[in-house]
Symmetry: C2
Subunit: 111 residues, 2 copies
């Protein structure tokens, strides 16, 4: 690990972990919301309107963080989350875009 907060290095990215992290509607929704903002935008964890208890939210953000999908840093009493788009695109080219596109398709289907 590059640091003690669970952010993996580029050569530590694991495809199974990434796919597992994305194989959840709510987690994918977080990624989609981050991807909608301009590159590098940071958001608070509590901004995403998700049906999670605080401790559950911590759990899911850790899944996203340890998979390498997001970067988190402490800011004051809160914590900012930013999408690691460049890193993902470098290690797994096209994967994030394909998932985000597929997510839009899948969501509009209202299956």
């Amino acid at each position: 690990m590059a640091d003690a907060d669970g952010h993996p290095d580029l050569d530590e990215f694991d495809l199974s972990a990434v796919l597992h992290a994305l194989a959840d509607d709510n987690r994918r929704s977080v990624i989609a919301q981050l991807a909608h903002e301009p590159s590098g935008t940071e958001q608070f964890c509590s901004v995403f309107g998700l049906p999670w208890a605080p401790s559950t939210r911590t759990h899911h953000f850790r899944v996203l963080r340890t998979a390498g999908l997001v970067w988190q840093r402490d800011v004051g009493n809160g914590r900012m989350t930013r999408l690691r788009r460049e890193d993902m695109d470098r290690v797994f080219p096209g994967l994030l875009d394909a998932v985000l596109t597929a997510d839009t398709t899948n969501r509009s289907k209202a299956a």
Copy 2:
């Protein structure tokens, strides 16, 4: 469901199910092996050198089948498996290619 064997229709494809099915090294290996063959090639389930007991193999192929990733049909006393590449590309464009490329990268890393 289009049929009783668990093959979903195009409008029943679920992104979470697909990603979950692909979030496993061995299952992804099956997809990769099928994708290596010419389009439409069918293979026996037992061909893939996997560390699975027969009943475990049945389970994993069902996961791939119900996610819409493969098509299976009975042939004599056996069962042939074929990749549903066209269907996947239609519903989730670029997703399968991105995952297969990422899988090659990830595998060669020997993490």
